[in-house]
Amino acid sequence: MSAKEKLKVLVVDDEPSILMPLEFLMRKNGYQVYIARNGTEAMESVDKERPDVVLLDIMMPDVDGYEVCRHIRGQEIMNGAKVIFMSAKTKDADIKKGYDVGADLYIPKPFSTRFLMEKIKELTQR
């Protein structure tokens, strides 16, 4: 990946009030941002844009985040993509399931944007 090229980040959440600050934050950090308001949109965007990082909500009206993650992990070309779950589901079982379907990180809501950015950077530097 060339340093010149902007990192592509896909933000997926069905809550506009969450989508909005995250979109702002990613752009501010110099990423190419794509947004999706539900699972279907998210998978379309994955197929089309091939994002490097996906910030993924779990509970969404149509297709849930786990499903979207499986979709991502099911494609070889997306091998390098980092998937970060951000969810209000905080039970151990939910978190374990998130890692099982192939997440790189699971962040419970509410979270600090500073922590999120730190993690994104950590994950993408390697």
Binding site: P21, L25, M60, P61, M86, T90, K109, P110, F111, S112
Partner: protein, 908 residues
Amino acid sequence: MNYWLVIGVSFFYLALLFGLAWWAERRSAAGRSFVGNPYIYALSMAVYCTAWTYYGSVGRAATTGLGYLAIYIGPTLMAPLWWVVLRKIIRICKVQRITTIADFISSRYGKNITLGSIVTIICVLGIIPYISIQLKAIASSLDMLTGMDEVGRSPMFGDTSFYIALGLGLFTIVYGTRHVEATERHEGMVTAIAFESLFKLVIFIVAGVFVTYGVFNGFGDIMQQAMRLPDFERLMTFDSDNGFSQWFWMVVLSMLAILFLPRQFQVAVVENVNEQHLNKAMWLFPLYLFAINIFVLPIAFGGDILFGNAGIDADMFVLAIPLREGQSILALLVYLGGYSAATGMVIVATIALSVMVSNNLVMPLLVGIPAIKNRYQNQLTKLLLFSRRLGILVILLLAYLYYKGVAEYYSLVEVGLVSFAAVAQFAPAIIGGIFWKEGTRNGALAGIVVGAAVWFYTLVVPSMVGVGMLPNAILEHGPLGISWLKPFELFGLQGMDYISHAMFWSMFLNVGLYIGVSLLSRQTSQERNQAEVFVDIFKYSTIFESSIVWKGTAYIPDIKSLLVNFLGEKKAEMAMKAYKRKYPEPEDETGKADPKLVTYAEKILSGVIGSSSARIMVASVVKEEEISIDEVLNILKESQQLISINNELRRKSMELRRATEQLRSANERLKQLDELKDEFLSTVTHELRTPLTSIRALSEILYDNPEMEREDQEHFLHTIVKESERLTRLITHVLDLERFESGRQKLNLGPVQIEEVVRESVQALEQLVQEKNIDLVVDVQHNLPAINGDKDRLMQVLVNLVSNAIKFCHPEQGRIIVSGYYIDGDIKVNVVDNGKGIDPEFHKQIFDKFYQAQNQNIRKPEGSGLGLAISKKIIESHQGRIWVESEAGKGSRFSFVLPVRVNVPANV
């Protein structure tokens, strides 16, 4: 009428009975028994109505007036008491396998042979005249019908009634002695008897209708003409001198007869298959008596009017009138009806007597004499059946001879009453025996013997005088001239008719001696044991084998071979198997029999050869030990205590089981509630996390980026405010709902105008409506009655419904209608939108809390997910109902109804 025709019809009728009985037994063998039916049972009890009723009532009514009714009033009065007396007797007989009245008495008083044989002899002496009058009735009706006078007069072998008696004997042998066990039910016989009861009733009523409406012009006509008869007054009034005592004794006599006549005992007790059948019989039987008596008076008066003093026997009026009117078919039917009444009685009485004779006279003799017993050891079954069959023939022959010798000279009723009085002598010993534990064998013996002696002296002796067997002087001056021994005026008692007189003295002495001697004499331990079991039969019936106290040594093979001797291999095997099923304890290794087995075997044998013979047989194969009365009583008390302890235990364990069950279901409920609570909590926290996430992210960004553009800053801050509001709303709703669910929510009640509520709610949302450019129509009826409610809460509901409608109505051409009107005592409010609708499968669930949150697929923008749940609670707390009607794609209509309270003024 042609003599041979009538004879042919008579035998054809008998053949019909054979066929019917055969058919019923085949049905029963095929498992479709007929007798397991209360109607058949009640009808078979009507064997009480014999030729005496059929012919004799009319004769009695024609000669002495209303007196004939007494013997039907007695049984009618007795019927309600059956549940107390007869049910107890039935239970005792079932448990103890008692098959005759003689066995019943003998069994109660220690299985005493003497008592059993005396009762048997009294029965035979008492009942044979009764059977003979049935033969007489058949013969007289045959005479009347064929116009011949010699049917009864010719010598025995040329006499038709002799052959009829023989035919009846054959029927009785075939259907009455099929099985050696007398406890086995005679289903064929019972069916035939029930049929006869129906037949005689129908024919008698037909004859009555013919006389009343065919010959005369109804009841009124007969009574009018009858009033001109010289002795009408006398017939229709009660005799003032001894009328009362005569009625009283007749009623008592028939009350006892319905219980203790051997044939009644046979049909009501031995042939009973189900105690519950008594319930129906208790009212069906009196009804039957009523029905068969309706036409007695019309026929009697009709006969008096038509025949006057023409010398026609009043007993035969029912037959004579159709004959006089030339109705030969009807006359033939009437004859057959009387024939059926007579044959029914003869058949049942003969069976009962033959069992009694074989079990209480012949058997004790056979088993009591070792030489005979040993010789016929293996043929006892055959011997028993043979003795019963022979008994039937001998009894019928005796009855025939009595009829030829004596009965000819007396009316049906006179002879019948003598029989009633004979069996009445058993009443003290039986009634006392089932309710009074102190009654002893000696008491019973003294009462019965003396009572029967008085009966014989005051009723039988005079009848012998009447036919010339004894000198008339006995009646007029007393035997040997001793005037206080005159049979009709014993001890100088005058002023009673002869039946009342006989009953008075015999019952007075019988009861007195029974009680007196019982109090003075001691019971043996066996007697005491039986007394306990009889009186408390309902306590002991399930544990009978362990409630008979027996001590001694017996060996199983001996008991078995005893059973085989009397039952045959197959039945003995079955009996042993049945015992093992009831008492599955393992056999003693030494082959010693359990006392329960001894009692069981004795009980089984009782059903075959009677209780006293069974006692002798069992005693002959075992070594018995003396037991004292105290020991008997102690053991009985223990076994009773055992029962009550068992019952107590059973009740306790039932209670325990119930309590456990309740505990478990309560626990289940709690667990469910707990799960619901958990789920609710996790949903609430989840719902809180979303706005918090947004607020935190926005705030951090604002803080970290002071150089943000102003427009973005404002947008961020606005969102923070919005999200905070969302948090507040959620918290308020959760608290609201919690208050409603815990019942702590108090309604602030007052008169509420729905129109006002709607108006204010819509006003509060006005801005939203305008923003989304929605066409909102309000259509509420004016002057609706006020309801008693909480205005703020009702507004909350309406605001919730309308704001939902705003959220979900068509995005471009939104249209909402809010309507309200009065219907059926309720006020109904609808909120209709034109949005995308709700699938019917969710119509109930959308009123559940957090339904949207849990079902992400239909997640809707904004809202706490609790609005509808709270609305539902509010409406329900107003005793109203809320629901939705909708189809996907066609908009939704939310409605609620609230009851109008009349005590609230309509306009405030």
